[in-house]
Amino acid sequence: MNLNVDIGIKISNPFILASGILDENGYTMKRILENGAAAVVTKSIGTSERQGYNPPIIYENDPVFLNAVGLSNPGIDNFKDEVKIALESGRPVIGSIFGKDAPEFSELAKKMESYGVSAIELNLSCPHVNGYGMEVGSDPDLVYEIVSEVKSRVKIPVFSKLSPNTSNILEEAKAAEKSDALVLINTLKGMEIDIASKKPVLSNVYGGLSGKCIKPVGIRYVYEVKKETGKTVIGVGGIENVNDAIEYIMAGASAVQIGTAIYRHGIKIFNELNSGLIEYMDKNGISNINDMIGVAIA
């Protein structure tokens, strides 16, 4: 049975840790890589240290899951040692980076490459920090410029993580077409108010909605982008179990990322997804995971 997939890098199963969850401390990434994840995407790293927002940075009320961490990160220079620790696992690390323009992204990508990551993930879609993420990602010309420049400066594959907060995903995908793969989707911008205190529940007011609520949105973007562009897609958004992962794969994802589900299921979810996938393929007579990619596309 073959679980290997190719997303620009070859990985041993389709399950990847999503950026922003348990990927700030090298030891945590290492542990996750040693427990079933084929790869991890690091927390998004910028040029300099950033505190992010004060707590509350998350709000959970099933099925709603919101976060606004605010791109807290130690800065690219301080992150070298964390990558080094994670790489002790012998499995690939994908470096997520955020910046405000092409030169910033390029500098970050080059440093990440020098740290030994296997690929770069461009965060073009964080929904809750002004001047970064979604604000960058919703400008197609800027996205085109960033992707082009990063591609020309590093040898490793480059992934673009796109925003679901858009009226035209195909335009976004087109702007990022030089990427080796498109990562769909980042969180949906959202917020909640606590009516007893009459205050927004997140200190930043706005946050990103993730988890099971956004799975139908993620499936739709993966399906539409795969169908219309044929590009390699990495699916992310609301995957809680192996059936959700299979749904993304059938919609056109070559691999999937897991984030919010760790809250409910813990790190063991990666081993559970692997055994669940093997069981599914076995039961359905599928010997190669690649035969499942995009089968639902009409």
């Binding site: 348990l22 990927d23 030891y27 542990r31 998350i58 976060n67 130690p74 301080n78």
Partner: protein
């Protein structure tokens, strides 16, 4: 977000308050809650009593703790939780070792079979001295009890007397207790304090060797800690920058 109504608020020293309120979910010794100061911030706080009305003890060190410490009876207190893996209960003789407000999460363990080592920088920082019968007080400046550190008091005791030793305080203090007790007994549990943001095991702020203190802890046995070489050595800052202790 859950909320309850403050039942009582007692100032126990210059900058420390104990608040009581009723909670529906059962709480176990060693667990914590995230308390929200709407529009201000959110911090993790341990329980100094787990029986209804439960008690939390908060030391003022920033805006959210100041807001919480000043909540008056009848006001709403907002929280999520309880979270975390509790202490293992034992019948028999117990020793608790706490430094400063680190004694608070150990208080629910106190019964008439419990001895305590309570350390602080100075006399006025000591709390809950009246709640523990067999108490050994240690201060850095010698203003009360032995002058020195918690581990100095511990060294004068026969640890085999105790069925379980529970420790809570700054990591550097816990590391010295750990180093002393290592290979002497396995019946020790530590409650770790690391910067927490999410409280539910996803933000990686409080992690130690890949383990989330908020979710898999905060209570760890001395055996657990043997496999954690970050303990007493290194952690991440609020931004995610590695700090050497």
């Amino acid at each position: 977000m859950n909320h309850s109504i403050v039942y009582s608020n007692v100032r126990i020293n210059e900058s420390t308050h104990s608040l009581r309120f009723f909670m529906e979910s059962p709480v176990h010794p060693g667990q914590f809650i995230m308390i929200w100061a709407p529009g201000i911030g959110e911090i993790p706080i341990s329980f100094s009593s787990v029986n209804n009305p439960v008690e939390i003890t908060v030391k003022i060190y920033g805006e959210p703790s100041k807001y919480i410490a000043n909540l008056m009876p009848g006001e709403k207190i907002f929280y999520r939780g309880p979270y975390g893996r509790p202490f293992t209960g034992v019948t028999g003789k117990k020793l608790i070792i706490g430094a400063g407000t680190g004694i608070a999460p150990l208080m629910p363990l106190v019964d008439n079979m419990t001895s305590g080592i309570l350390s602080a920088k100075t006399k006025n920082d000591l709390i809950f001295t009246d709640r523990i019968k067999n108490l050994y007080v240690v201060t850095d400046d010698g203003t009360l009890g032995i002058k020195g550190f918690a581990v100095d008091a511990l060294k004068q005791m026969d640890i085999n007397e105790f069925d379980m030793i529970y420790v809570c305080g700054p990591e550097i203090m816990m590391k010295s207790v750990y180093d002393y007790l290592l290979n002497k007994t396995d019946r020790v549990e530590f409650s770790l304090e690391r910067p927490m943001k999410c409280g539910i095991g996803i933000c990686d702020s409080c992690s130690i060797n890949g383990i989330q203190v908020c979710r898999d802890g905060p209570v760890f046995s001395i055996k657990d800690l043997k496999n954690m070489d970050e303990f007493g050595r290194t952690r991440l800052s609020f931004s995610g920058k590695r700090i050497y202790l």
